[in-house]
Every structure is written in structure tokens, then in C-alpha cells.
Amino acid sequence: MIATRPLYTPLDRIGWLNTTIRCVLALLGSYANAVLLGSVIAITLSMPAKDATMSAIMLGFVVQLLAVIWVFYARTLIGAFVGLALPATAAAVVLHLLGASL
């Protein structure tokens, strides 16, 4: 995810806007990732549903935390966004293919 030439957008340059966008991304994006990735784990882990769900919930919180850290670590807003959007989209596609009902 570390680009050699960071892709700065005009939004990056406005300090308060940059921070605000990251906060929104952190709040919503991390939660979306926790829910989507957690659900994929809960459905796909090959163990009894109870154990898979426990693993999924615990890992879901870890995913949420890592997502928050990523949003504020990423050099640019685009990087922060892509880092959240890629796993979330992938998980959503898997869930759709599995026909999961959340």
C-alpha cells in the first residue's frame, strides 16, 4: 500500500478537512470492515457454527482496530480509503457469492 509517489488530492492539503475525513473513515470504515470480514470468517471457517462465530467476533474487533490504525497511518487520504475499501469490497463480494443473509 506504500506508493513510491504519494497521491495527494486537494483534500489532503486542507488540514482540518483531512483530519475530519480520516475520523469519518475511521468510524464508519473500520466498523464496515469488522462486520463484513467478521461475517466472512463466521461463515467460511470450517468449524461448528458456535466456534466459528466466537472466532469471527474476536477477529472482527481486531480487524476494526487495525482499520482505525491504518486510516491514521496511511500517508494520503486515497491510501486510507483504498486500504479500507479493498478488503471490505472483497468481503462483500464473497458474502454475496455465498448468498449470506446478514
Binding site: 462465530t53 466466537m54 474487533f61 482505525v68
Partner: protein, 601 residues
Amino acid sequence: MKFDKPRSLRKSMTWVHTWTGLPLGWLLFAIFVTGTLSFYRLEITQWMQPETQQASIYDQGQGLSTATKLLEQYASDAEFWSIGFPTARNPLYQLRWRAPEDKSGPENAKGKAKSNAKGNANGHAQGNGKDKPQRGSNNGHNATSADTAAKKTNAEQSQPAESHLAKGADGDKIKPQQGHRGMMQLSLDPATGQVITPRETAGGEFLYRFHFQLYGMHWSIGRTIVAIATFFMFTAIITGVIIHRNIFKDFFSFRPRKGQRSWLDAHAATSVIALPFHLILTFSGLLFLAGQLLPMVAGAAYNGDPRGFLRDYRGFGAEQAAPNPNAAKLVDISAIALDALKRSPAGIDSINIKRPGKADAEISVTTPEGSLFSGKQSLASLQYNGVTGDFIPATSKEHSAAETIWKFMLSAHMGLFTTPVIRALLFLSGVLGSVMIASGLVMWLVARQREREKLGYLPRGHRLVEQLNVAAIAGLLSALGAYFWFNRMLPADMVDRSHWEINGFFAVWGLCLLHAIVRPHLKAWREQLSLATALLITIPLLDPLTGGNFIWQNWLQGQFAIIGFDLTAFALGLGLLYATLQVKHKLAKAEVTKAVPPASR
């Protein structure tokens, strides 16, 4: 902090640490303090009911036979009985029963939280035997709940047949008290079998419930707020570890009276010493509230129904046989107790009877022995047939790795299977955690001291943090002290007493917020810390003057839980006295040098 410039991970994470810690730090402090006290909520409730302290302790003489007679007399139609045995944490017999019409009360909706609810799926009494320790933790001992007054019952109107049973502590009447979820309860002196009717109190139960669902709002809203705050805490802890440079050096270094450096040392030391505790307690807090925070994940493997997971988790998924309506005489409980004592040298925690007086009655004996990695269920280890009295060997349960981790987390959070020493360590870690949060909140201001000096005035945001810091820290501790004072000062037979204790608690806290808003910062600190000091340091005197005993009397009677309460309150008072003097010192210095901008004094 600028996110548009290249910056180090450490710098970014410092920002995250600061801004996840501050906005919910005031709430987290309250959650940590009340949660820490919850490790001793039975002892707190016992202190708040001095009537129970008159009982003779550790004597298992008359109690059990009297308990059985009382249950047959008052709860013959109940679908569930529970006899809690006297323990070091609560020296009384606790009788509880649930009348049949109470089985589907609205309280059952609480089934969402993993730890403390029974499944609402099969609303009958099944599982009650298994989760007795749960019930104990929910009801506290003799705690009438925050939302139920002691109500008169049908049982009360029928005069007790046997005269020696009829002598309650308050005269001739035995008054079963109503606990949570329609459970009725009675307390017995273990030596004499006499019924003890303690005063109504919100007790340790109020503090316990506040720490995970707050108060005065729907439980699901309260739990969601707490869950979000817990996630902020989790983020703050992990980012705190990331930005922390010298974990070992800071462990051994404390530089007092060096301004910001000292605050940082205090913050780091209290964090690092109990770091595993902070991490496990915070993460398990998330797991408890996972139903609030990640319901979609909980339901993903159950066709989108999170309750499916809860049923599965509690082992309610199996087919239940239809209840047998035929009557049959219940086996002699004393014989069961004797047999259980032979099998469990550690003693008996409680005896729970499902469908007493029916042909399919079941008895389960919970013991204090259990496995740290198996959760509450492992406590309910001895099963008996309720009619024949035959012992039913338990089927051994294997746990998956996921379940082992999960149950370890939850057991640690609830302080299950702890010895007194481990419980004390958990409590001390909680105290450290509270100091960690408080010092972090203060540090936000201290770290911005220079910024304020440069500005030459006090920004509105800083003033808001000042006000909330005082009210959330010193104000909460004052309100806690006041809560115990209200408990002893309100008339013991007052109607709706537990409500007034809680009202008193919030009234004092609210007044402290007002006071923090109108008074200058340091003066507000000094005055509220003085109030909290005065209220807490005098607890060992308040106790004997309002129904309890002096410490040495308690010592002679073996009431160590009460001694512990008195001394802990006194020690907390001493700590607050030290803090008050520090603020006083600082105030005096500030008045001499005038180095601090006037507004922040």
C-alpha cells in the same frame, strides 16, 4: 498534528491515542471505577445491609432444613428453587424461587448480553441450574434491584404455620423480597435458621449494572454506549503500547514534582504495571457486548439471527422434553447436600432445583470448583435426579480453542474462580486502571500548558475539559461516598429506598458538575476532592454509628468483608487527602507566583 505532511507511525498513533482517550475518557473513568467496585459487589451489598451483619457466620447448622421447609411453604408452586449456601463473601443462606407466572417477563429481553441473561428462546426454567452463579451475580445477594421495590406478596399474607419460622428480624412477618426477573428471595441466618429481612438497598448491584448499561435509559442504549466507549478504550490501549518507548525503563522510574514529566510517568506506570489486566478486561468487555456491537457477525452463521448464536452458546439448542405435570415428592435435600459434600471437598456454592414437586424434578449442585477456561457452566458439576436422588454423572465437555479463549476472557472479567488474593489483585488492577484514565485526562491539559501560555488566554475547549475532568473524577468519587452515606442515613424502612440512594448518587454528581462549571479550576479540584475525602475517610466511623460495628467488633465476629469495605474506603480517603493537599500546595504556589493564567486557577 498534520496529516498532510510525512510523519512517523508513532506521531500518528499519539494523535489517535489522545483523541480516542479524551472524548469518552470521562465515561470510561466512571465505567472503570464502578466496574472495579463490582469485583466486591456482594461485599458492598452486605455493607449496605447492616442487618445481615448481625447473623452468626460460618455455621451451617439449622439453615438447610429450615430453608427447605420455607421453600415448601412459600414456593410450593414455583418452577425453580435455589438455595445459596453461606460463603466467605456472603455469610447467609439465600433462598430464591420463581413463581410460574413470571417466566416470560420483559426482563427476559436482556438475553442479548452474553454473560448475564438467560436465553429467551426457551423461556422456561431450564438452564437455571446451570447458570446459578450467573443468577447470583445478577441478583447480588439479597439486593433488591434498582427498579423493584420490596413488594408484598401472596406468600406474606398466609400466616406461616410453624412458629419458629415466623420470627423474622422485623417482628412476626416474613417478607420475601422481590429481586430481578420476578425472583423472590429470602435470607437466613445459617446458625439459627432465622429469617433476616435486610433493608432495601440498590447495593453493589447498582454499581455493577451501571458499569455495563449505565442508568436511566433503555438497557440496549446504555450497553451500546458502553460498547462504543469500550472500543475507544481498546484503541487507546493498543495505540498507547505502540507509542510507548521504554516499557521497562518506565516501569522503574517515577519522577515526582516535575510537571508534565511526572504526569506522564504516572500515566505510563499505571498502564504498564497492569497492562495484561487492562487488555484482557477491555477486550472481554467487547466480547460481553458483542451482541450490541457486532450483531451481524454474531448472526452470520445463523441465517442472520444473533439469538441463534446465543442459544447455541448457552447449550439451549438441544430438544427439551415436555415438562412432566405429575406430582412427586421431592427427595430429601440434606441427603443430596451430604452426598455432594463427599464428592466436592471444596464445599457447596448452591443447590438448584428445577420443577420441585414434579416427577421430573432435577437437582444441580454447584461447587466453588471449576475451570478457568470453561466459564460458568463448569461450575454446575453435580447433577441429581430430584425424586430418586440418584447421582447423574456429568458428560464431559471438550472446548474448541476459540471457546477456550472466549471463556477465559469472560471468566477473568467476572473474577470467577478467584481466590481472595487474586480478587484483591483484580481490584487493585482496576484501581490502577482508574488512575491511568484519570491521569490521562489530566495530562491532556498539562501537555497544553505552554500552548495556553503562548495564547495568553484559556480556550473554551480547554475550559470544558477542565470542568469535565473535575466533575468526572472528583465528582464521581464524591457521589460514590455520598451513595454510601445515603444508604446509612435514609430511614431503613423507607418506601422506594433503593431509588432514593440512586437519586442521591446522581444528585451529588450533578451538583459536582455545576460546581465544577462555576468555580475556578484548581479551587473546584480542591473543594470536590475535600468532599470526597471527608465522605470516604469517615466510613469506618459511619458504619458503627449507623447500624454496623466498629472494626474490632467485626474482627471478633469474623466479618472480614465488612472490615475490608471500611478499610478500603478509608485508604481511598487517605489517597484523596494526599491529592487534596497536592492541589492546595499548587494553589498556594500559583497565588504567589501568578505564573498561571488567572482563568485556569
